[in-house]
Structure formats: structure tokens, C-alpha cells
């Protein structure tokens, strides 16, 4: 909140906000620091989502170890809090007393009143008790409350309104809400947010933008963005975006950027009255596995996990949106989320190398 006030102040004075430069790389806690269930089989941090709150950055640590059959939860989920300019890390254990209250947290988002919410996917079976949405007070860096997830659902994405916590289902194309006061899941049937598919589709993300809740449905060949009533979940509008969309971000002018991993494009969605219109504005033909998009003014920031890169895109560039800078985070870094600190500086969570790294941009000459 302080930072938003600061930004508004800077904007009002006609200046450009510049964040303190972040440290080049922050190593995240590892092994025994992450309270492994089996000391002989510790996990890696495997950082994912990032959010800002209380002047710090928070990143989810899924705390997994790699096996020949895929990643396995090695311990409870964590949040790591840090200040980008000094790199000091504070760990917040999301797992509770038995370590099983939250496993594999992916997203983390801040509510307007300053709390953090993170959905925990558990082991993706849809039946384990480590699925939850946890609430964290960033002023105290402690878990304040926990909402259990109904059986058969795996939470994905999180949108916090004044009265409700909305999340999507990683197994189906539905979203459902949790009462923010009682932390009980809404007993009414989930809200369908479907999109075209050949075999499988799911809810890639749910986010609050401009007072509405937006839900993103993705499949390997299509994607659909839904605008929902924040109180009832009623569908107000929807529009087709690109294939396999992974993330969305709100711009300061009300538009919404959606990154489509299937065809490596970005769609800009414009809400107008009761409708949404979408347009693909740029193709990142060398960026594979686009995972995240964030906005700072009219600058978009994206990350591509397979190519270990992040892009800085100027939406107002002459001739149309254009990549004006790109950064590489090294072999096997697997950048997963990006967080702009101002309109030129950004940090990424490297899921592969378990670090938070500052983007060292190569710019267009």
C-alpha cells in the first residue's frame, strides 16, 4: 500500500518512480531449511508466484524434490519474504503444526486490505488434505487463517474481493468462492467458465482486476477470458484469447493482458460496457513456455520458462507493441514469475535454479 501511495505521489508530481536496484540474485532456502518430511529426501525451494505486500516481496516455495516420475512434495509449502534491494529472506511456514496444512503453493496475491492469499494444490489428487487457501498477515509474517478445499477440486489462481475469495479448479473449468469471513466454501454449484478443447481444459488463473473477478480458461488449442460478478460469480462477459493462456495482468487503463503459451502471443482485452474484445498484439516467436505477464503502466513484462528469458514490451512503441528489452537468466533457470519493480526493473522467480534474480536487460539498439 505504501508503494502504491508513493507511485501515485510520483505520478502526480510528473516524475518517474524508480525502485532501489535489486540485488542480482537471491538464493532461496533449501534442503533442511524447508522442513523435509524425510531428512534423507529434502526438497528444493522451487519458487513460483510473487506478490508485493507491506513493502516486501513474497514468493511461494513449492518445496518439492525431483524424481524420475516427476516432482513430489518434500515438505510443507512456504512463503519467502524479502526486500529486493537487500536480499534478506524470511521464511513463513504454511504447513501448520503437522506440516500438512498446505503443500505446493503456487499463486500468491495481496488483497486490497493488505493480506496475502495463496492457494495450495497439494499432491494434485484432489482428495488430499494439504489443499487449502492460506491467509498470511504480511505485517507479522504469520499464517492467520486457512480455508479447506472441497474434495474433488484443486485450487488454481486466487482473486480476493471484499467478501469472497475466488479460485479456479485445476481439474475442471469451474470457479468457486470461499466466504472471507467464515472461510467456508460456497455450497452452491461452481460457476462454469468453459473454453474449446480437444481433450482437456482447466482454469489457468483467477484474478481481481478493477473490481471484477476475471477467470481464464485454457486448453491446448484455445483460451477464454471470463469477467465475473465479484459477489455472485455471474458471468458478465467473455472473450476468446489465444491457445493455452497461462496468466493475465491488469493495465492502469483498464485493459487486460493475457499471455498465451500455445502460440507465444499476448492478447490485449478491452472491457467496454458489458463486452470484452480481444486482440493479439504481439508474437514472441523465440520465447517458449510463456508463464507469466505483469504490467507497469503501459509496459508489459513476460517470462518464458523454456528459453530462460524475460521480455520487456512497450505497448506504446512506434508501430505497435514491441519487445524493447530481453533478459536471460542462465541455463536451466526456468523463470516462472516476474514482478516489475518499476517500468524498467524487474525480478523473476527461477524455479529451476531456486533463486530470485534481477533482470539484466539487453535492449534494442
Amino acid at each position: 500500500m505504501k508503494r502504491i501511495v508513493l507511485l501515485l505521489l510520483v505520478a502526480a508530481c510528473g516524475g518517474t518512480y524508480q525502485a532501489p536496484p535489486p540485488v542480482a540474485s537471491i538464493a532461496l532456502p533449501d534442503g533442511s531449511q524447508l522442513k523435509p518430511y524425510d531428512l534423507t529426501k529434502p526438497g528444493k525451494a522451487r519458487p513460483q508466484g510473487m506478490a508485493e505486500a507491506a513493502g516486501r516481496v513474497y514468493v511461494t516455495l513449492s518445496n518439492q524434490r525431483d524424481t524420475d516420475t516427476g516432482p513430489v512434495n518434500a515438505g510443507p509449502g512456504f512463503l519467502a519474504a524479502f526486500t529486493p534491494s537487500d536480499g534478506n529472506v524470511t521464511l513463513i511456514d504454511l504447513g501448520g503444526g503437522d506440516g500438512l496444512q498446505c503443500q505446493n503453493p503456487g499463486f500468491v496475491r495481496a488483497s486490497a486490505d493488505g493480506y496475502l492469499y495463496s492457494p495450495c494444490s497439494g499432491n494434485f489428487s484432489g482428495t488430499d488434505r494439504a489443499r487449502a487457501i492460506v491467509e498470511v498477515d504480511p505485517l507479522a509474517n504469520v499464517v492467520t487463517r486457512r480455508a479447506a478445499i472441497p474434495n474433488g477440486r484443486v485450487p488454481n489462481g486466487v482473486a480476493v474481493t471484499r467478501t469472497r475469495i475466488w479460485t479456479g479448479d485445476a481439474f475442471t473449468t469451474t470457479v468457486f468462492s470461499i466466504d472471507r469471513t467464515t472461510l467456508a466454501a460456497d455450497p452452491t454449484p461452481p460457476v462454469p467458465v468453459d473454453c474449446a478443447k480437444t481433450v482437456f481444459n482447466y482454469v489457468a488463473d483467477v484474478m481481481t482486476i478493477g473490481g471484477d473477478v476475471y477467470a481464464l480458461c485454457g486448453s491446448n488449442n484455445s483460451g477464454e477470458l471470463y469477467r465475473l460478478d465479484p459477489d455472485t460469480g455471474a458471468v458478465k462477459a467473455h472473450v476468446t484469447v489465444g491457445p493455452n493462456p497461462t496468466e493475465l495482468a491488469g493495465l492502469d487503463d483498464g485493459r487486460i493482458a493475457v499471455v498465451n503459451a500455445g502460440d507465444s502471443t499476448i492478447s490485449l482485452v478491452t472491457p467496454s460496457g458489458g463486452t470484452l474484445t480481444a486482440q493479439k498484439v504481439i508474437t514472441l516467436s523465440h520465447a517458449d513456455a510463456l508463464q507469466d505477464v505483469r504490467a507497469f503502466g503501459h509496459i508489459l513484462f513476460t517470462v518464458a520458462s523454456s528459453t530462460n528469458t524475460a521480455q520487456r514490451i512497450d505497448l506504446d512503441a512506434q508501430g505497435g507493441p514491441k519487445v524493447v528489452a530481453e533478459a536471460n537468466f542462465g541455463l536451466n533457470s526456468g523463470p516462472y514469475n516476474i514482478l516489475p519493480l518499476d517500468d524498467t526493473q524487474a525480478i523473476v522467480s527461477n524455479r529451476g535454479t531456486n533463486t530470485i534474480a534481477a533482470a539484466n536487460w539487453v535492449t534494442v539498439k
Partner: protein, 631 residues
């Protein structure tokens, strides 16, 4: 400075100029020019086919994949560098959709699917026949893109032998020996080949490729070493005037590093593999009828070490188990060919057996049963027809594969021939597709067979060594097995694809003055996903290969160019592998007696920025020195 820099490019150029000058000093030399001497497969008469004769690559260090890539309609998916995995694509079909036969025995990878061509030793082969089209009627289920027949060296009735040794860039070495001899009432042949490479070449890539003109940085590929030994034994015995027995044993074993893609190297991943094929055939004739009975078997084993679903690991640690996969097959078959009247020649085939897998896919088996009949019909006016039909039962999945080819020649010796073909067939899912549950891959035991049909037509002008051919084809695929997103973070195969692949294949083999032989082949592919109209990924729209070679009894040499146009690498026409132009050249002299010494350079332009379809880096300039002798 890498080893490849030891031989500057201009030295090679100088050598080629010297060779051209030396040519004038060899009056009366006997030139043996070897082009395409055979026309297709006897199992698929009048099918579109190209014969790749290994002899034309004497003095060159070539893998099976490299030699195949000279043929029209063929593209190779190689995971970068010598000794690494390479698979075959015919007419835009996947590697699983083409059959590979060694002397008629089907070969497969350890999961029951595509064969890794890098496990095949090139020097034990005599020639390869690439037959294109849906040829299930002629070869069996699975031949949707076509068939590659590997024909090993034949035993001879007299003592002959040869040896070849080469050393080259990236620590690449090869030693090959073969000997043929009389044995009992027949002959025997033994051939051995050993290959080794350190495989650690330099390459360059942009770290920020979205920025036009951003710099390239140099890297050295690591963990690209490979060592392989292979052998072949063939024995042929005449038991009586009309009865003969043939034995074939072929085996190969190797170990290699799995270096990974350029953006995600895997320095700790290794693969060990071993495979063997055995076949014994009894053949005979009775009157106008000929018959054969054969039993054959195949064993494959592959073990992955230090391999994870995403990345690598330290072999021997608790979460890094070795992944062992074994497959085998055995079958018996009988074939009878007999004339039926003046104009017909009938062939009947009956075969049965089974195939088994054990390992990461679990333990599974399925029966194989086939029955086929083909008629070769000679008609008036130079026409011939070759209808065929085959019933294959693969496990519980049955399918009928009909097909017909036709040919017209104005006269038996006339250089012109016109041909056309049609075929319909299916491919049973592989064991990998049905049962492999590992890492990011889910199994689907409910998969149905893929189905395809194709039609093609072509013309050929063949006069002595001159060959000009053109073929156009159109094929349709349905029930394609595609890996689809499946929660959480996995992919699973489903029968959801449908595609149309059309194309043109051109080839010219032209003898030129000064005992030169020019070969040009061109392939055009238009591969479209019929579900959404986008191009199919990983199919090169244009491939052009040109080669000029000279063979003499004192001097030999070649120069060749291979161009591949930009290739779609996603399903939405928004990302491409850049086009590639490779230039290779070699020159050799007969140094003494039967001893030839050659020097060969590949990728003369030293392009270090090329990558394969899956972003594995490809080597820059490499040079090899080859010595060979044949008695």
C-alpha cells in the same frame, strides 16, 4: 582452439583445386560411377522408391541418417551431433508411422516405437531402399509414411574383405572391418564397426533472441560422447539344388551421454543400449514356384541413468533410479510365390508371433498375426498392376490394408515409365503410448489405431545412369495419436488428430563429362492439421539436396549442399526453426594398391548457430581423415 580448426578451410579448397588439375594427368583411367543401380523394393513393385547405395559414399564418414537424408521424401529428426538419437520421417509422417526392416525383419525402439537410426552401423549395409506411401498392404501395419529397408552386405563365394578407419573433429573415430569367405557349401560374411566420439563441439546461440541483432555467445556442448560397437554375421548355405538356408545375426551395443537441449543441458544423463536381431530362413523352389520359411527374433534393451522427468540427476541417489526398458519380438513367416497363368504372379504370406516389453512401461505382450496376398499382373500395352491386401492383427486390434500400384512403360527397354499407387492402412499404438507412465507422460491403454490412406502418381525417365523422376502424393490421416495437456502438468496420448499431407518429390541423377555424377533431390511438403488449418509442426516444407561426385580408380571427390527451409515448431504457425544450408565436401586419392586416403569436411560454412527441431545444437565445421582398403 577446437580440433576442427586444425584444418583451415582454404587448405581443403586448395586440395580440391589440385585434384581437378590432377584429373588431367590420368589418361586411360577406369572410372566406376555408381549411381542408382536398383529400382525400388521387390515387395512393393511400382511404389515410389529411392535406393541409397552405400558404395556411393565410400571415403566418407556417414551415418545411416545422413545417407538417408539425400533421398527425396525423407527428413531426419536428429538430436544434434554424432552418435545422438536420429529418427526417420517419410512424407511428413512421424517416426512411429514408418517401418524399418533389416533384411525383412522389423526393427523397433525399446518402447515398441520409432527406431533410433544412430544405433545402426552404416558400414555393414549394402544399400537402403526407401519406399514411400501408405504401404501396409505390401509391408504390414505401421507403414503409413513408408518403409525403410536395410539390406546388409551379402556373403560371397570368394574371399573378399575391407577395412576402413577414420579420425576427425570432436574426437570422432571409426573402425570398420568386413570379410566374406566361402563356407561349407556356401558363403559367410562377418562385418564389425566401432564408433567413438567425444561429441563436445562448440556452438553459438543468442541469449536474448527476441531482440533483433542481439549477440551470439559461444558454448561448448558437454556430455555428448558416444561409443558404439556393432557386428553382422551372414551365412548362406546351399543344401541342395533347390534348397538353401540363410542365417543373419546382427547386434549393436553402445553408451552415450544425453546432453540435452541448448537451453536446458543435462550433463549427468546417460544412456546404455544393446540390441540384437537374428533370423534364419529356409528357401527353395519347386517348378515355377518359390517359397521361403523364416523365423526371426529381436531383442532391445535401453537403460537411462541420471534422467529425470525435468532435467538430470546424480545416478545412484535415492530419487534417481535407473530406467530400464526392454523389448523383444519373435515371429515365423512363410511366403510362397507362384505364377498363375501367363499374366499373373501370386505371392502369399502368412506370419505369426508376438512382441513383449518389460521395464518402465510395465510388462506387456501382444500377439502378431498377418496374412497377405499380392498379384503382379502383366497387361497388354506395357501396363502392369500390383494389387495387394494384408490382414494384420496386433494384439486385439485388427485391420485390413488394401493397396494397389500400377505402372506403364511404352516398351520394356523404354526409358519412360509412369506409375501410380493407392494404399490404406493403420498403425497400432506402441507400448510406450499405451503403457508408459513416467515423469510428465501419462499412459492411455484405450488408444485406438491411427489410420491413413494415400494416393500418388509419378513419372520416371531412366536411361543408363540418367534418372529423372517426379512424384506427387496426397495422404490423409485420422485418429492420429497426439500427446495432449493432461492435469497436473502432464501430457497423455489421445486419438484426436487428423491431418492432410500432400507433396512433391523430384530427383535427378545426371552423368556429366569428366566422370562426374550429379544428384539433385527436392521435396515439398504441405502438412496441414485438418482440425484448425494450421501447419503441422516439425515438417520441413522444402528440402533440397544437391551433390556432385566423381569416382575414379585414382581420384575421388564430392561436394554437396543440403538446404532445409524454415520449419514450424509449434502448432500455430508462430514459431519456426530457421532455414539451414549445409555444405560438405571431400576428396580422396588411391595412395597405394587398394589403399585410399580421403579427407572430408562437413558444414564448410562453419555455421555454429544451427539447431535441430528440439533446440539441440548442431556441430559446426568438422573434418575427418579416412583410410580404407578393399581386397
Amino acid at each position: 582452439m577446437p580440433p576442427s580448426r586444425v584444418f583451415p578451410r582454404y587448405l581443403l579448397l586448395l586440395a580440391m583445386v589440385a585434384a581437378a588439375a590432377a584429373r588431367a594427368q590420368e589418361p586411360g583411367e577406369t572410372i566406376e560411377v555408381q549411381g542408382e543401380r536398383r529400382q525400388g523394393s521387390p515387395r512393393a513393385p511400382a511404389a515410389a522408391a529411392t535406393v541409397v547405395d552405400m558404395a556411393q559414399f565410400g571415403g566418407e564418414v556417414r551415418s545411416v541418417a545422413e545417407m538417408l537424408s539425400t533421398a527425396p521424401g525423407v527428413s531426419i529428426h536428429a538430436l544434434g551431433g554424432p552418435g545422438q538419437t536420429a529418427t526417420l520421417s517419410l512424407r511428413g509422417a512421424t517416426a512411429d508411422q514408418s517401418l524399418v526392416l533389416l533384411d525383412g525383419i522389423p526393427l523397433q525402439g525399446p518402447g515398441g516405437g520409432a527406431l533410433d537410426l544412430s544405433t545402426l552401423p552404416a558400414t555393414i549395409l549394402d544399400r537402403m531402399v526407401v519406399s514411400r506411401g501408405v504401404l501396409g498392404a505390401q509391408f504390414g501395419a505401421g507403414a503409413l509414411g513408408g518403409v525403410l529397408e536395410l539390406l546388409p552386405r551379402s556373403a560371397r563365394g570368394s574371399w573378399t574383405g575391407g577395412a576402413e578407419a577414420s579420425v576427425g573433429s570432436f574426437g570422432t573415430e571409426r573402425l570398420a572391418l568386413d570379410a566374406a569367405m566361402p563356407a561349407g557349401n556356401g558363403s559367410a560374411l562377418i562385418a564389425l564397426q566401432g564408433d567413438r566420439t567425444s561429441g563436445n563441439f562448440e556452438y553459438a546461440r543468442q541469449l536474448t533472441p527476441e531482440i533483433a541483432g542481439s549477440p551470439y555467445y559461444g558454448f561448448t556442448r558437454e556430455n555428448g560422447d558416444a561409443t558404439r560397437g556393432s557386428g553382422l554375421l551372414r551365412i548362406s548355405q546351399e543344401l541342395s539344388g533347390e534348397l538353401g538356408l540363410d542365417l543373419l545375426l546382427q547386434g549393436s551395443a553402445g553408451v552415450r551421454g544425453l546432453p540435452g537441449a541448448s537451453s536446458a543441458p543435462t550433463p549427468r544423463s546417460r544412456e546404455f543400449d544393446a540390441d540384437g536381431v537374428a533370423g534364419v530362413r529356409l528357401r527353395g523352389s519347386s517348378g515355377d514356384a518359390t517359397w521361403s520359411v523364416r523365423a526371426s527374433g529381436r531383442l532391445d534393451r535401453s537403460e537411462l541413468r541420471g534422467v529425470l522427468a525435468f532435467g538430470d540427476c546424480e545416478d545412484g541417489t535415492p530419487d534417481c533410479p535407473r530406467q530400464d526398458q526392454r523389448s523383444s519380438s519373435a515371429r515365423a513367416e512363410g511366403e510362397l510365390a507362384l505364377p498363375a497363368g501367363e499374366a499373373n504372379s501370386l505371392r502369399f504370406l502368412l506370419s505369426g508371433g508376438g512382441e513383449w516389453v518389460h521395464g518402465t512401461t510395465g510388462a506387456h505382450r501382444r500377439g502378431l498375426l498377418s496374412a497377405a496376398v499380392r498379384d503382379d499382373v502383366t497387361l497388354a500395352g506395357g501396363f502392369s498392376l500390383h494389387p495387394a491386401v494384408r490382414l494384420d492383427k496386433v494384439g486385439t486390434q485388427n485391420g485390413l490394408s488394401p493397396g494397389i500400384t500400377a505402372q506403364w512403360k511404352p516398351a520394356p527397354e523404354h526409358p519412360l515409365s509412369l506409375r501410380a499407387g493407392w494404399g490404406l492402412s493403420y498403425r497400432a499404438p506402441t507400448f510406450t503410448e499405451l503403457y508408459l507412465e513416467r515423469g510428465g507422460i501419462a499412459a492411455n491403454p484405450d488408444l485406438r489405431p491411427e489410420r491413413a490412406w494415400s494416393v500418388d502418381a509419378g513419372a520416371e525417365w531412366r536411361l543408363a545412369l540418367l534418372t529423372l523422376s517426379a512424384t506427387a502424393f496426397w495422404s490423409s490421416y485420422r485418429e492420429l495419436i497426439l500427446y495432449q495437456l493432461f492435469p497436473p502438468a502432464r501430457v497423455k496420448p489421445f486419438n484426436v488428430g487428423k491431418a492432410r499431407i500432400a507433396g512433391v518429390e523430384l530427383q535427378a541423377v545426371v552423368p556429366l563429362p569428366a566422370h562426374l555424377l550429379a544428384t539433385v533431390s527436392y521435396s515439398f511438403l504441405d502438412a496441414v492439421n485438418r482440425a484448425d488449418g494450421h501447419k503441422l509442426a516439425y515438417r520441413p516444407p522444402h528440402r533440397l539436396f544437391a551433390r556432385l561426385a566423381r569416382r575414379g580408380d585414382r581420384l575421388e571427390g564430392y561436394g554437396e549442399a543440403s538446404f532445409t527451409s524454415a520449419i514450424p515448431r509449434n502448432a500455430f504457425d508462430t514459431a519456426f526453426v530457421d532455414s539451414q544450408l549445409l555444405l560438405n565436401a571431400g576428396i580422396g586419392v588411391r595412395a597405394a594398391g587398394p589403399l585410399w586416403v580421403d579427407v572430408e569436411a562437413k558444414n564448410l560454412l562453419d555455421k555454429r548457430t544451427y539447431e535441430d527441431l528440439f533446440q539441440y545444437p548442431l556441430p559446426g565445421l568438422s573434418i575427418a581423415l579416412i583410410a580404407r582398403a578393399r581386397l
